[in-house]
Symmetry: C2
Amino acid sequence: MIPRFKLLLLFFLLFLSALYESRAQSNRQPNFIVILADDLGYGDLGCYGHPTIRTPFLDQMATEGKRFTQFYVGANVCTPSRAALLTGRLPIRNGIFGKRVVFFPNSANGLPHSEITIAKALKTKGYATGLVGKWHLGSKKEYLPLSYGFDSYFGLPYSNDMGKVGSFGPTASDQAARVNTNPPLPLYRNNEVVETEPDQRQLTKRYTDEVLKFITANRSKPFFMYYASPFPHVPLYASEQFSGKSKRGLYGDVVEELDWSVGQILKKLKELKLDKNTVVVFLSDNGPWLMKNRLEEVGGSAGPLYEAKGSTYEGGMRVPAIFWGPGLVKANTVSTAVATSMDILPTFLNLAKIPLPTDRPLDGQDITDVLNGRKDKGAEVVYYYDADRLYAIRKGPWKAHFTTHPSYSPEAPVPHDPPLLYNLEVDPGERYEVGKKHPDVIEDLRKAFEKHRAGVVAVEPLLDAIVE
Amino acid sequence: MIPRFKLLLLFFLLFLSALYESRAQSNRQPNFIVILADDLGYGDLGCYGHPTIRTPFLDQMATEGKRFTQFYVGANVCTPSRAALLTGRLPIRNGIFGKRVVFFPNSANGLPHSEITIAKALKTKGYATGLVGKWHLGSKKEYLPLSYGFDSYFGLPYSNDMGKVGSFGPTASDQAARVNTNPPLPLYRNNEVVETEPDQRQLTKRYTDEVLKFITANRSKPFFMYYASPFPHVPLYASEQFSGKSKRGLYGDVVEELDWSVGQILKKLKELKLDKNTVVVFLSDNGPWLMKNRLEEVGGSAGPLYEAKGSTYEGGMRVPAIFWGPGLVKANTVSTAVATSMDILPTFLNLAKIPLPTDRPLDGQDITDVLNGRKDKGAEVVYYYDADRLYAIRKGPWKAHFTTHPSYSPEAPVPHDPPLLYNLEVDPGERYEVGKKHPDVIEDLRKAFEKHRAGVVAVEPLLDAIVE
């Protein structure tokens, strides 16, 4: 038997140690990690209802945190969505739109240096900042991540199909043309190309290692890690450990490896006792790329939502989003609050006690109180842009489509007057048009639509210029 | 301070009491509860990905138990699906099919008395058996539940739209005709009508009370409770406590009240310390009734699946299914094993150590080892019947449609030769027909299709006869 006083002493020491740990964590500014999947659909995770893709780590992350069911991104394709996330501003304000929908290897521009990214803002309070993975906001040297507040960068500067292999254009000839003209896919370490055409099967493991090293190296100061996976954007690659393992085929293999990667990160935070003072966000940049009628296995699923990447229907812009952070994010909760990727910047800045920029409009809002469970209401209005054209808005449960267009279709956009009206909370699949029953709602949304358009100052489109 | 020996004694007594409790529970034959929702779609619960219906109790049941993602019912509409569940046999074998798709108030027949229901089988080992809710296997006195092994019955004998109010036929004129000819909706206690046209807003609460009373009354003997909710079949009714509470509208209110009802039952089992020796199954009888183009708010959602109630696409016959039973069902697991509602009878009989009937073919199999986690593989083949016509089969991940027909459509069924082929594990939404790539698979499924048809002995259809 252990003598009683020794037992008491042991408990006391354990208590002191726990108290110290807890205070040590909460006295520091919180750490932030954003994990961004590429083209992952609303329905592609176990906790969002996919029947055969297994995502135990993300499901557990949801159980330990807050899973959002009405979370939006700022654009329906990659480049403008990433610009919106990092700046808290709609693409129409930061210029990341054009006839070309994203940056390509031969694009001349990048994100304007005047934009304040999450990384740049956090650096003002001494945060260590790192980006691992996909950038896609400019690939000329002056537009690489180190010019935007990131201390370090390791990854591909644009999509994983923009090299010599596995390019996926909208048509076969377009695809062939790109493979011919693209330079070999560059892998950067900071501002230097350290490899070309890296073995993409190893990317998830290599990126995960980089993220874990960054966390370990910065464990004693506040940090911000932006981990932007290249997957499940096509071409799909999984490591040997995951290849052929998912019932969902290669797409499932790739998502399951990404799930593993997230699990590794949360495990490392717990090991280093950083879990009580770190907020981790997992989300996708836009809806799934369906590859309609071309490649049935490689396109993801928007679950119950209609349409996909490139569309302003829900499937294009509503994404899976899980926030995790014991103590900061209320555990085991599902939120139906409307929120957007542009809320991340103001929320992080508030948690880090950094004032928001006052010299420019922001399109996101601080959702700290939604995360900690004090309320369950977020954005009042959501804007659905396609390039510089406002296609639709959501206000409360109502969505009005003023223009529609099927994703990746050669057809012209179709204007609607009166707009098509759906109640998204009753009918998330946008199946039942109900405008005739609700003329008052249509008028209200029309006013909000016009008010927003009147308030946006047009800037120059930046996506179209090409390097000569 | 409590003296140490008292503390030790206390722990010892707690340990003995826990040991006794556990042995007392596990030495008894297990109790069984089947909770059957009506027309609940695959996508209508939080844990199956619905964005705005909140089902915390069912989500928790899934966390404490096993959630199936490829679980099927024996038919795509109510009456034959219930017959299949209770007998472990396809409708083609027990006669529950016809030109009329279900029993109506004026139907002359019922389930054949020669059928062995779960209740009748469990009675051979002294089980207390009760049915609360919807029967729908015959409403003449000789076809009421007490003739099929149930000790007690409280509920409506058929669908909640088959009375004088709120009838929903496929067309408006059909609907009006039914309201005129139907007798007032009868509420039975055993073999007696105790009310007509009961206030349906109170049904979930009243049924829940009945179930809780049954459990409490039978706490010291093995029991089987079959709780068949009338909802979310139309017309939809929720109690005052739930009305107007869900963002999903009335349909959501009704599902959220059903979720509450399930929560009450699991709570009662824990209170009575029956939880370690009771298996609870929650499932739906078929896919959602979409009410296409008629009533946008009252139709459920099949989530990522295609089509709905009345169809042999996945949306018609794959349902949410959660098994719960600490000690008997492995907790916090998701199973992609293919299983069916006809597996419930052989599984319960095995757990209760009752031999299976040997004088007739069963279409289900014992899935005890799937439930306890020893394996994750269930049925090899799934059959999709529409009345007596075999429309499609699934074998492994593959599904071949030999005939298709949109749900509740006046169009004629369309035969397919070669059959349409889908890989359900890669493409659960049945979007990408891949027959041309897999002629060998088509041949394999064609053989399984013919073999099954050759092995089924035709019986008389029982759904069509009408009381003169």
